[in-house]
Symmetry: C2
Subunit: 698 residues, 2 copies
């Protein structure tokens, strides 16, 4: 299931880095000869694969079609994608993308995750406490301006602040000029920089969500598997000035079932891929980074399970965490399995060798070969940096961390701040910082005790920072004290610290603020080391991109960056264990899957479905697969047909798509979608939401 | 819950090392002044604390009383303790100690773990496939003979094989002479060596076990907590020549409830403690070893949960693994929490400083101070060795490993073999190797894939050994191939390899045998490094024991070694969060606990209990606590009163006993037992086993 992962390292990642997902089992990977695969690619909307689509699928992409699709697509700050589906502000996304909001809107008496939700009127729609939707309104190439700020031959140490300053200045100017959210996006690992301008929607309300047992039918066991039978969908609505937003661009729905071979397009926000990675970078991922992250994820999984054992209410509170952690753990496990298949690395190594050989033949390109050595050298330093941490990850500890950093960063000129603390990023930052989403004291304490333990493990319990944090107590006792004494639960208190800036932070005796201050210098030290390594990688990958384009030609696509991309493919069955897996499933299959399985509760459809069994048209398509090139962050992406009509909603990749972080194949790898006709059928005949159905697509 | 842990490191541990358990939460540790605490101590049966018992409890321990208790006590090779409770061979132990056997005797149609078991006649009693019970019949001090084999000044490298040879020779001579199982036990970290002779019972049959929901009521959540309400008991019977064994020594049962302050004794097999550890050794445990083991345990916990999701039958197959892993994980978590409390380390450091200061004052002892430096130096090497592994841990992979080692070790003179491959150990080794316990192909494959992945993570996927093992496939595909092709499921095949020795092993093309052969040299290299470090520790701890005895006096007890010990204490309430926790619970409490809890299924008593609710005397004691000094391995130990009558059955320690691996306290720390009267009440009125009750104690 495509989804935001827990933030894995000691350093806070950018939104794009935060995204992660992958398939599970490595059964057998079938290789095609090494060229760009048939439907590979996550293309930029300003560099569309016009020629490729014409040649391969006889499709003429026209600008109006593409603009409408782009303007109907949205990015959610909770880490997924979505689309506008009506003129009166309706937004379609995955249930699992909405999960974070469902959790925040739930209470012991109103468990939206367990029971689902349907607003019968505008008044009943529930406002999400901190959701932000971004609609991409323009793209501008600013590569020259960003690179002009960094004279050739500048060291990584000097280059990083110069480049960061240039990007922040461009963003600020754009924001001042247009009033739009403006982000400079690093593409092709640092070869290109584009300025993206977004219209921001920050009043987002929940309209409909099914029960989790229907949305996530099959649970952790079926996650990343196929065939599937999941209504992994939710509908929200954007508001402006307290009224449903009036939208010019939205997707109409197709009412036709999909057929084998049909061409479809995916417009969404793939989070991060590593297709450009050298084999040294992949080796670091395989042998160091993924094992490290899996240890961390398993630690959190077991911790949250322990917390959940306290009872039904605890289980409810932990549910979003548990789901997110399990999803990431399964994703990384699959990604690791792929990298551990010697054939995958051989494939990558083979391509790299051919490329390097070609570069050696070419007088102009020869000097670019050093970039591979530079990447190798950076991996060695990353290996040392990987386990080092000065971060404590709980809701309140992260709020405290951000408040402390904000106080300090605010005193600097805008272009010298960390990128997430610039004036242009301020609005989004404060949305999280001042959210009214519930924070549970017992859960905070439980997590904080483990985070203090983790810090002690990672730095050694005799480390001066650890000793100072624990003030002579054990982690559990210290966590209990801190959570009892902190005032950060109170949004007004947070606001006062934000308003009071560094002076207020320094004056505060709040234990979590004090903890964040203690950790701050070490956090900055580690972050600077990390930023410098990333800058070195950017410079090296810019060279690698140059070499690759020169040898293999241009017209490609950059690695995913959690920005809008167009992918395409066909609805397509595949072979597995000697069987043909049909491209689509139906409601009949869902009921059968539920009937046949003897096991955990995850395989029980909700009572609403059993009650509706006779009403539902059992032949209606519910899920389907296609060959489009997707990845984590694509969750909730609309799938459209040649006519630009919505036919589906991306929600997962199958197990064979496990390599797609670093290697696309279309032999068995498939993107998995909810069928648009399936969503309508469920809305009409299971959830009896006739009024909502009437609004859709018009 | 006291229990065998998964074997944690790359090296195969001795039985004693395999034992592990600990309490969970570190709430607040109350310290008494540093002397030996009131009821501290796990005493040797040949060095009983006669004076202490007289002074403290006015109890005259007489030899006959002690002999009867010793000869009524048994050790189970599955990792716990037990006692003889009738003249016709009945053995009482914990349900969780019998769990391994229950799992092995269960099938999809006869789920003893879920449903419990009661034999209505001798004929119905079920023979355990590979259980061995040891009754300690004599103890002899062989310190001088063992030390005589190692001339003073011998390096650790040379000393280790010399000492090992001496021990193996003593054992072999004893076995030849007496026919009894003979083990030389290392005590006080290497200061003393005692020869233990055991009568072995290898025909052990299951008589009664309750449902797991009664035995492990409260599940993982209540584990290591108190108050408790668990019938964590099972009854087996030893047979000789196909008939119930006729026993001279067995425990009579007390029918009286226990009262606050009553003196009780525990006779059992504590697995391993680290009370002698220097602070450097504890620091290694805290900062390196425990975090490493917890990562491993969480990995296995999540893996087994994933497997369990496949369905009800998979869940049944994985249950023993899941239980054991969760128990160990919770134990280590508690142990870690204690070590991370700066006051615990300060306590240990304080005592150590006083000791070292006293040594410096004493001309004869001064040179012994170097032992502390030696321990510190060894820890540094252990840190490097810790993550290195050449072991694959699945049932079949371990069988293959043992067969390969056996073939090789058999060619050596008996006294030069690894200790577990000597002639004296042969019988026990083969019992496991040729067991008929079921091994499930799908579970084997699932585990093997993860073990190959773990090996690749730990050594790097480009490590030649890993590359050779994977033969160009991913871990999952390779695991599938190997499990499909191996013949090791077949006991006859195993027998033929054992009989054929090294020649048969070398000729075998079985993929798991080949894997074990590939891993063998690296396994030997790592084991030798480890053995050498342990020898250096033994020599250093022998010096530390000498110094400690000289300064603090003798009459103490050695760290636990999974051999028989006598502990004592009083039935005693304690204070927690301002409340007095009463020393005993009743059946009424069990029903209340079940009624009040809203949460997971672990808190539902079985239907047999609900049906019996009106029959049971609700005031009967079910569990109680006492101050006796126990640890993992003590599970199933009989608790007796001054008259030597059985009053209880150890099954757990409370959360505050978490420090007892390295620091005993009796302020809040308590051993938790099932009441003998509670077991009888359940047998009579829940399980309607009147016939069985009649046999008990006579």
């Amino acid at each position: 299931m495509n989804r935001v992962a827990v933030r894995p390292t000691g350093l806070r990642p950018s939104p794009a880095q935060a995204l992660r997902r992958f398939g599970f089992l490595c059964l057998a990977i079938a290789f095609a000869p090494m060229t760009v695969f048939a439907d590979e690619g996550m293309y930029l909307f300003n560099e569309l694969p016009t020629k490729l689509l014409k040649e391969r699928h006889d499709f003429d992409i026209d600008q109006e079609w593409a603009d409408r699709l782009r303007l109907s697509s949205v990015r959610l700050n909770s880490g997924g994608s979505g689309s506008f589906i009506s003129s009166n502000g309706l937004v379609l996304t995955n249930h699992h993308v909405a999960f974070d909001t469902l959790q925040k809107l739930s209470t012991p008496d109103r468990d939206l995750i367990q029971n689902g939700f349907l607003a019968k009127s505008f008044e009943e729609e529930l406002r999400a406490p901190d959701l932000e939707l971004n609609q991409l309104v323009s793209i501008e190439d600013v590569t020259e301006r960003v690179n002009a700020a960094v004279p050739p031959g500048t060291s990584a140490e000097e280059a990083f602040p110069l480049r960061r300053a240039a990007m922040s200045t461009i963003e600020q100017e754009s924001k001042d000029e247009t009033g739009l959210r403006s982000d400079v996006v690093t593409l092709f690992g640092g070869a290109k920089y584009h300025l993206y301008r977004f219209r921001v929607f920050d009043d987002v309300r929940l309209v409909w969500a099914p029960e989790t047992s229907a949305a996530f039918f099959g649970g952790d066991a079926d996650n990343f598997e196929y065939p599937r039978y999941n209504i992994d969908a939710a509908i929200m609505r954007v508001y402006e000035n307290g009224e449903p937003a009036v939208l010019e661009n939205f997707l109409r729905w197709s009412d036709a079932p999909l057929a084998e071979g049909e061409l479809v397009f995916v417009s969404g926000h793939p989070g991060r891929t590593q297709r450009i990675f050298t084999t040294d970078a992949l080796t670091f991922l395989r042998d160091d980074r993924i094992p490290f992250l899996l240890n961390l994820l398993r630690r959190r999984e077991v911790l949250m399970q322990q917390y959940s054992l306290k009872g039904t209410e605890a289980k409810r509170r932990a549910r979003d965490d548990v789901f997110g952690i399990q999803n990431s753990r399964k994703a990384y496990t699959g990604m690791q399995a792929g990298l551990l298949d010697p054939r995958v690395m051989a494939e990558k190594r083979g391509r790299e060798s051919r490329l390097l050989a070609a570069i050696q033949e070419n007088d102009e390109l020869r000097e670019l070969a050093s970039a591979w050595e530079e990447i190798a050298a950076v991996q060695k330093e990353k290996r040392v940096l990987l386990p080092q941490t000065a971060s404590i990850r709980t809701s309140l500890a992260e709020i405290a961390h951000q408040i402390v950093l904000l106080g300090e960063e605010n005193l600097k000129p805008n272009d010298q701040r960390f990128r997430e603390y610039t004036d242009a990023s301020r609005e989004s930052l404060l949305r999280g910082l001042l959210s009214e989403a519930p924070i549970y004291a017992d859960l905070e304490q439980f997590k904080l005790a483990d985070e203090l333990t983790r810090l002690a493990e990672s730095r050694g319990a005799d480390d001066p920072l650890v000793v100072e944090l624990l003030v002579g107590k054990g982690p559990r006792q210290r966590a209990a004290e801190m959570v009892q004494a902190t005032e950060l639960f109170d949004k007004g208190f947070r606001q006062s610290l934000v308003d009071g800036g560094k002076t207020a932070v320094l004056a505060s005796s709040d234990p979590l603020i004090r903890m964040a201050r203690l950790l701050e210098p070490e956090y900055r030290r580690l972050r600077e080391l990390n930023d410098r390594l990333e800058e070195r990688e950017r410079q090296a990958y810019a060279k690698i991109t140059k070499a690759t384009s020169a040898i293999e030609g241009t017209g490609g696509y950059p690695d995913a960056t959690f920005t809008l991309r167009l992918a395409f493919g066909t609805v397509k069955s595949y072979q597995q264990d000697g069987e043909t897996i049909p491209p689509a499933t139906t409601f009949a299959g869902a009921f059968e899957h539920s009937d046949n399985y003897v096991g955990p509760e995850d395989f029980q459809l909700p009572s609403s479905w059993h009650l509706a069994r006779s009403r539902v048209n059992l032949d209606t398509q519910i899920n389907f697969v296609c060959t489009a090139d997707i990845i984590g962050g694509n969750s909730g992406s609309p799938v459209v047909n040649r006519a630009g009509e919505l036919v589906g909603l991306i929600f997962d990749g199958n197990i064979q798509s496990l390599t797609s972080d670093y290697l696309y194949t279309d032999t068995q790898a498939r993107a998995v979608s909810v069928s648009a006709v399936g969503i309508k059928e469920a809305l009409k005949n299971v959830y009896q939401a006739a009024d909502l159905v009437k609004q859709i697509g018009r």
